[in-house]
């Protein structure tokens, strides 16, 4: 679905991504997990074409990224950023329908699609007449998500979509997302530093450090068979002690 082949990126002397191979599988949810500075955001920018790569190749559904126009890319890939990236001067409705206007879609179809999505993420449609600033953080992210999906793209990229939300809101949104992604059969790539989020949502987790993928697999694989000490350290840092003890007693 998305494939990166020996992709590298450096800013001057500073090598951010030495050489990276990555495959995002069809209709699976992948999580790029790592601390800040691990290169996860750069990878997302390389995939979305916001940052040019130094060497290697990115392909989306078999087509090289460099061959895709912005228009074509946008119809294949939806995007949700950390703070939603909603336009502050438009109502939520206008925000959600804007991609449709840009791509000359039938707005009625998009509107009914929006109703459907709103139900899935439990967002009252009446809120959509408001501007983003009048909504809570969780509501804003839901609007951003609906906007990202409104053109029905096969792929969805999410850049730390829940890092700014409080734990309760985050938990309910995570549950809704998991159901939604499976129901809509989307190929999803989520950037996150939150182990819990990655383990809950991700079919595949790619643990990153220093621009390299240290280990990839399910949470269970990472947890039970860490390839390097770093994996163990990273997991320990975010797992409550009692669980760790539990692991200790198992082995």
């Amino acid at each position: 679905m998305i494939e990166l082949k020996s992709v590298s990126k450096s800013y001057g002397q500073n090598v951010v991504i030495p050489s990276l191979d990555l495959k995002i599988l069809h209709e699976k949810t992948h999580c790029l997990l790592g601390t800040s500075g691990s290169g996860k955001t750069t990878i997302l920018r390389l995939i979305s074409g916001l940052t040019p790569l130094n060497s290697g190749e990115v392909s989306i559904q078999g087509a090289p990224l460099s061959n895709l126009s912005r228009q074509e890319f946008a119809s294949k890939v939806g995007f949700v950023s950390q703070d939603g990236g909603l336009f502050p001067h438009m109502t939520c409705w206008e925000n959600i329908l804007l991609p449709g206007k840009i791509h000359n879609k039938d707005l009625e179809v998009l509107r009914s699609r929006c109703y459907e999505f709103s139900k899935m993420v439990d967002l009252p449609v009446s809120l959509l007449d408001k501007v983003p600033a009048q909504l809570s953080g969780g509501q804003r992210q839901r609007v951003a998500l609906i906007r990202g999906l409104i053109l029905d793209p096969d792929i969805l990229l999410l850049d730390e979509p829940m890092s700014a939300l409080d734990p309760m809101v985050r938990a309910s949104l995570q549950r809704q997302l998991k159901i939604m992604f499976k129901e809509l059969k989307k190929t999803v790539l989520i950037i996150t530093h939150d182990l819990h989020e990655a383990s809950f949502l991700g079919d595949v987790i790619h643990l990153l450090n220093g621009g390299r993928i240290i280990q990839e697999g399910s949470f269970k694989e990472l947890y039970e068979r860490p390839k390097e000490d770093f994996v163990d350290e990273f997991l320990k840092a975010q797992i409550p002690d009692e669980l760790l003890n539990h692991k200790g007693s198992q082995s």
Partner: protein
Amino acid sequence: MKVLIFFILFHSMSVFANDANNKEPKDTMVIGSKNFTESYILAEILAKIATQVGEAKVIRKFGMGGTGICYQSLENEAIDIYPEYTGTISEVILKKPSLKSWNEIQKELFKDGYDISSEIGFNNTYALATRLSYATEKQIKKISQLKNMKSFRMGFTHEFLKREDGYQQLKKHYQFGEHDTLGIEHSLAYEALNSEKIDFMEVYSTDAKISKFGLRVLEDDLNFFPNYKAILFYKKSFSNRFPKTYKAFNQYLIGKISNEQMIKLNSLVEVDQKSFSDAAFAFLGEGFSKSKKVKNLELKRILTLSIEHMKLVSVSLIFAVLLAVPVGIFAFHHRGFGQVLLGMTAIMQTIPSLALLCFLIPFLGIGNPPAYFALFLYGLLPIARNTYLGFSSIPTKLIETCELMGMSSWQRLCYVEFPLAFKSILSGVQTSAVINVGTATLAAFIGAGGLGTLINTGLALNNTKIILTGAIPAAFLAILVHVFFEVIEKRNFFRKDH
């Protein structure tokens, strides 16, 4: 054969021209004046004579802001004639102060294609004046008598105290010793002299206040002060273009106004609050047919001038917006060259308004075109700068979102950038508009009308009431413009988050 055709063509054309001439004068004569009472009165006299002769349609461009602008206008044929002084011509225009006599000056001007009339009669130079009572008591008539007086107090403007040809030279020239001197503002000096705080002050020798305060002007018997003989200043061609008018000027005006008469005419306006037209009639006498006097209600005049004023501001503003907004956007997308452009608009801003108007006269003449253009230039910077700032303040995240949505740069401009920058752009337009309401008052200096006309006249007459009839509506317009833009901002059409 060719000659014959040419002759017929020429002949028929001249017949046609003569036909037109019967209805209306074929030529127009633009009469200028500077922005002080005496110049207004003399120009009004010229206008009345020229109208009476009827050789050309008379257009008045009075109250222009200084010698530079008048001379520029004459050179570029934006005006045809205006009253000037010999001293001003040698010092300011020819920049040859050594030229003193009328003959020398006329000869020098003639080389450059200009000409001056013979002297109108009076000499409006610096002079020393004292109270009549004091003069009688001490029996003083000439400046040379000061040398033998024991003690007296003098009040001079700061300029006169410092000037090369001012007080220090005067003291040397007439050899009077050290006396109390006071640096004082000119209009206050009259009061000081009247209330016996000082005994002598410098005056302009045809100043209306000389008659108002009953002063004695001392004779400059050792010829210290330069001559500022009033004359008419025009291009050589003037006498050929308007032979009858030229003759009439010589007949009715040249050599006809003495210093005393000029003081009287000035004081008719400044002290007795008569109009320039009344003063002109007072000089010309009843022989001149008074045109039907249109009683112009003051309020109506203020309204007309206000409309003129707003036209100057709004038309120039529209063009400024049309250029400055794209410049600001361009500057945002091309930072390097953009900064150069913004720098250029900033330089425009530093040019003093009168100087800018003066520079523009060779290209655009006087009246509306240079005024519109100058206001347009002054309007550019705040708009371009605020457009640039408005675009710069849009978060990069949002711009990237546009890109990920697949927007073209035109769609991004319409849907996102312009609406988000609109508030900033609008406040730039507001700044330009309010500033230009003020700057437009200067347009009167080059005959473009507006409320500046009243301020200008008021300044010339030292009449606060007239100044205020121009200044208050101008201030009111500025507030109105401010409120207008505030309202637009409140009802920001492009934003829902208000």
